[in-house]
Amino acid sequence: MTTNANSANQNALARYKNNFLKEVEANVEDGHMVKMCMQCGVCAGSCPLGPAWQHSPQKIFMMIRAGKREEVLGSDSMWMCTSCYNCIVRCPRQLPITHIMHGLANYAHRLDLAPKGQPTREIAKLFWDNLVKTGRVNELKFSLAMYFKDGFGQGVKNAMAMQATGLGLLKAKRLNPMELVGGHKCKDIGGFRKMVAKAREIEDRRRGLA
């Protein structure tokens, strides 16, 4: 755990004592809606990756109300969200479940309580870093970074495994090797980065993460 994340975590524990629901309401995107869940389970049955979830959204909501902080924030579950929005449109109580799952994942990630090495967590971070660097996503750099996230050896293996796919895209002119040296980016990249930094600063301050 990084020092920043650790102190943020300690702050949160001190601030909300045992009331995890209040903590979620204050710090998680759309967290104020958690209390409106009526435990019908439609979300659990609607998730395409449902069987892969350690705890369904229904259970996550119940666990929040039951104050199971470590278990919720350390759960692998939210990282299984494909952002298909099926749960959102089916929830009879109109809970923005997808947003809440994203928000929980983000909060757990920022407190560094999310599972270490969770693959979706890793690619999500790579994606954002890639984005902030140029203002646009560089698919080749993003892919390469992903393949090599577990070190050089594993990276070569990963890249070899996906070689056919990559070649296919290359042949179809849908993967541009020139991206490595130049590629697309925002002209006002300076302004863009300053803007994102400011937004993060505001949000972190609001959430006691700064």
Binding site: Y85, V89, R90, A124, H184, G191, A199
Partner: protein, 298 residues
């Protein structure tokens, strides 16, 4: 008649040399035939996609989308923003709606935007290209330029997730939207019935959870085969890429023989409107859409 003007947000994947570049290629013919003018938003940036949440949080994601809206508002006044990519559309529309609903978030957003010399009044409506075609152009006008109806072609209309949920096209159901089938029929092809029309392809988890995503993709492609489809058509860039390029992976792992072409609705329209295979971006297919290409040659 004056051309209809839109502030166009192409999105990262549609750029030259990116996975969905053939979408942009095929869009050209459609735009010409339907008298649309797409004015690219100057210096647009990435929407953050769905996967941006983990590191990005809420406000930074809203802010990067607000930047595009702010530029459009300033540089292309009075124009609706249109995006071809559902992820771009979803992120932008969500930003527009959430900032409209929460004045405090809009204020915070503007504090951040100021760093890039921008300000947002939040007046721009964010729309998806299919929405524009259906609502602004209309079915009759979409049918009018058809010179090569895609006779005898059986197509599985794969709507997927983000074009359909949480916003979708007004008046359509989330469980069984009909507009893509209607588009298929509008260009003279047959829309097949199959049961995976709105199934998730795995989205960004195609990278991080390949087995789970590939199971989704396999279900979708096999259902299309079961429905008797010659090819799959989709309005979504990520769906197109996932469903098309992972078929070879699935074949390798499971000994299946999946070889189902996956194209954009704009590619169908482009061919039906008389465009060449190249104009329709068919050279960009990893799995060749031969039956569609054959019609272009007729």
């Amino acid at each position: 008649m004056a051309k209809k003007q839109y502030a166009f947000y192409p999105g990262c994947s549609s750029q030259k040399g990116a996975t969905a570049s053939n979408f942009l290629t095929s869009l050209d013919v459609v735009v010409q035939k339907l008298d649309l003018q797409l004015n690219e938003i100057p210096d647009w940036n990435c929407c953050g996609a769905s996967i941006g949440y983990a590191e990005g949080g809420e406000l930074p994601r809203l802010v990067i989308n607000a930047r595009n809206l702010a530029i459009a508002e300033k540089e292309l006044p009075g124009q609706d923003m249109v995006s071809g990519c559902p992820a771009c559309w979803l992120a932008t529309r969500e930003t527009h709606e959430r900032l409209a609903e929460h004045a405090n978030l809009l204020a915070e957003t503007n504090v951040a935007l100021k760093e890039a010399g921008l300000n947002l009044n939040n007046t721009v409506r964010a729309r998806h290209m299919t929405e524009v075609l259906i609502e602004d152009i209309g079915w009759d006008a979409m049918k009018a330029p058809v010179v090569k109806p895609l006779d005898h072609l059986k197509i599985a209309g794969y709507v997927g997730c983000q074009t359909n949920r949480p916003f979708g096209i007004a008046g359509e159901s989330f469980e069984n939207p009909k507009y893509l089938d209607k588009m298929i029929e509008t260009v003279g092809a047959e829309a097949v019935k199959y049961d995976q029309k709105v199934t998730c392809c795995g989205g960004a988890l195609a990278f991080s959870e390949p087995d789970k995503s590939q199971k989704q993709i396999r279900d979708i492609v096999e259902a299309a085969y079961d429905g008797g489809a010659d090819l799959i058509v989709t309005p979504c860039q990520l769906c197109q890429a996932n469903v098309e390029v992972y078929q070879s992976e699935i074949n390798k792992k499971h000994g299946t023989k999946l070889n189902m072409p996956v194209v954009y609705y704009t590619q169908l329209m482009s061919i039906a409107y008389g465009g060449t295979a190249q104009q329709a971006g068919l050279d960009g297919q990893v799995i060749k859409a031969d039956k569609l290409a054959a019609i272009a040659k007729k």
